[in-house]
Symmetry: C2
Subunit: 429 residues, 2 copies
């Protein structure tokens, strides 16, 4: 092991930052489970053709056995690391559908990999924390609203700045574009999706010049993408553009339903939100950190009615993904993450001599049985050295046996020292 | 997505089995943290040369970007998925040594990958749950004993059959072989390590025929490998073989020290235990499921004094790894795993009509705030259909609003139904 260098895009945290990440994941786990979501994990790999059929715009890491055996049939199937959790989840639902209870609500928190080119601030390995609900045959719109509620509750509990969640519905965009007379609605969607990035003028130019829209049609598409509202006024704003389409009306009704069930100051209808991936068919969500919108969406998702295609039964779903690594990585780098300096070890038992080691271990175990995190110092050196370790590690208390066989503790922050009853003592919170 | 087939060696669980796995990991996490171990996660990949220098007997999955760019310098470094957590940990310690407090106690629970040939019961992706302690400069032997104690405590708390932990010390083997006059001690070690697999006669034959040992030397090596004891009698058994070596005496003293601090019926000295990997330099551990020894060690590890080599300061360590996926996979397949049939959802709130949805959600949130797992049924269909879902999911209680605006619950197992005060009610455990 000669050179030890970080690998671009593969972040690793110190234990203190990892502790924050763990606490975030525990918060999400609790919130997900309290809303009826069950956990699964899927394997890290999928057949390459499965990945490519859903993720043509994603960079994929392909796997190869070092001692590849060209004659083994198994080695001829190409596998890649998954680039998100939605595609593996859709495959899992199809594979295990006879053993699941539908609507199937699951959460999944795993790392995903993207074989992108090296780039500052770009992650190639990161945690996604996903919740999805998949129905058998159909999935009521109520789940689109419920999911938003659960997502909002999660984001509010994480130790991060406030989050604004923007919602839209692909039927609104699709229906509107069709009503305007556009054939290649996907191409328009891709251009309008860039409003925030390239500005309204450039979008207009591209719609007219590159896609051949009439100026009126382009203006209307642009106007639609600029509608946002925290209440139902978005409907009248759309109606004012005088475009007729059944699909548009359906989309507006769905949006209205989802917003009505989520009356929160931080939840907006924003008709510019489209989500790049083409498997979304209805509601779409994107969440942004207030004051840090430039880092892009920190959570996103939507309704997908046809992701699981070849099954005899339709398996429509709705889901969102929280990009935890990106979120914490950004906040940590910006100094906005509250990283504890205090060690998880609450009590350090000082070691008098080698002979008392076994007894000290028993004392420590008794404290652990009460849920306390305890270490016993490893060497019977002078107490001064042992105290130094306690300070370096940031433990709360040291505990030691006094000459008259009574136990005492010292609270490091205050310097207070007092005799305790070892059977009843617990550290103060 | 046309064919959906499992991939050999990449296990996936149903939510109920995953729930058991999660609980096991929570138990380990708690036990590790209560003993002062901090969590880290390392990236899934390491440079191929790092992996190969430590794992020549391991099959490695090599990564390649699908859209590889031969001109990008970065693409010329080959990376592979890690095959264990010890090698990445050693690299992590070296990389971050200036930011860590030593002795550094860490736990790590991540998946590892081995690109082995397809084989029944062989995992290619599996969880390892590791604890290691690394010292800066030196690491007292007390940690070899402490680690064994923590490991034993973990294994006793998992929902698995009883575990017997066998310990040995590489210095005993190395010293003994040297004392017998053997040069290639590693070769002897590899052969003796196979006693359980191929039998004593075959080991003897290979030592004499393949390695050229004298019959007397071979007999002694074999006799050493057959010594086991739950107490200090192993020392006299070794002395009776009349082999002199300082290293042997050192190893015996270390073993004695570690066993003395772990006086448990299920902890044995077994001088046949060697551990294949050549980075171990002292204490070695292997744990076996009582009555299921044929599946091999379910946890193992040892002392490694030179794993982190090029550092200016020596960074000796001791660690063990629990093979959680293999363990649970075997027990589940053998029907020995206690998989809960009860859903994690405790309460299903029945939905009267669309108008009451928002109110039902508020009711559910109030219960969640008390730590209860609650779902609200998604469709305002007849209560019969809603009850059917409750039974299928195995929830404990359904909760509903009666006509006089009072809440009532029905306990599904007993069929009991009664009016409750929604503000104070909690489900019985």
């Amino acid at each position: 092991m000669n050179k030890v260098l970080p690998i671009s895009g593969f972040p690793e945290w110190l234990p203190s930052v990892r502790a924050v990440e763990q606490r975030c994941m525990e918060t999400l786990k609790k919130t997900f489970e309290q809303s009826g979501f069950l956990n699964i994990e899927t394997r890290a790999i999928e057949p390459l053709d499965v990945l490519l059929s859903k993720g043509d715009d994603k960079e994929i890491y392909v796997l190869k056995r070092l001692h590849d055996d060209p004659e083994a049939k198994d080695d001829n199937v190409k596998f890649g690391l998954h680039f998100d959790l939605t595609v593996p989840f859709a495959r899992y639902v199809q594979e295990f559908q006879n053993d699941l209870v539908f609507p199937f609500k699951r959460y999944q928190m795993q790392k995903v990999w993207r074989g992108e080119r090296k780039q500052e601030g770009r992650y190639r390995e990161f945690y996604q924390c996903d919740i999805d609900i998949v129905g058998s045959g159909s999935l009521p719109l109520a789940f689109d609203a419920e999911l938003l509620r659960t997502l909002n509750s999660c984001m509010q509990q994480l130790p991060i700045p406030d989050v604004t969640i923007k919602i839209n519905n692909r039927k609104v965009l699709q229906g509107f574009y069709e009503g305007v007379g556009i054939d290649d609605t996907a191409a328009v969607l891709r251009v309008v999706d860039k409003i925030a990035k390239i500005g309204a003028d450039e979008v207009l130019k591209q719609l007219v010049n590159d896609l051949g829209l009439s100026h009126i049609a382009a203006e209307k598409c642009l106007a639609l993408g600029q509608i946002t509202a925290n209440d139902l006024t978005f409907i009248d704003q759309v109606k004012a553009l005088e475009v007729e389409s059944e699909l548009l009306d359906e989309g507006l009704n769905e949006l209205k339903y989802v917003l009505n069930l989520n009356p929160h100051d931080n939840i907006y209808v924003d008709l510019s939100i489209a989500r790049g991936l083409d498997y979304y068919t209805g509601t779409v969500y994107e969440g942004f950190l207030n004051g840090h919108e430039h880092i892009g969406a920190v959570c996103s998702g939507g309704r997908y009615d046809h992701l699981v295609k070849s099954s005899r039964t339709a398996l429509p779903g709705v889901g969102v993904s929280i990009g935890l690594t990106r979120l914490l990585g950004y906040l940590n780098q910006a100094g906005l993450l509250d990283v504890p300096t205090q060690a998880q070890t609450q009590v350090l038992v000082l070691l008098n001599d080698e002979e008392s080691r076994a007894k000290s271990w028993v004392t420590a175990d008794a404290l652990r049985a009460k849920g306390i995190n305890v270490e016993v110092f490893h060497n019977p050196v002078g107490f001064g050295k042992q105290m130094k370790y306690a300070h370096k590690k940031g433990v709360q208390y040291v505990l030691f046996l006094e000459e008259n066989d009574t136990y005492a503790v010292k609270h490091l922050a205050s310097g207070e020292q007092y005799v305790i009853d070892i059977n009843s003592w617990v550290p103060e919170a």
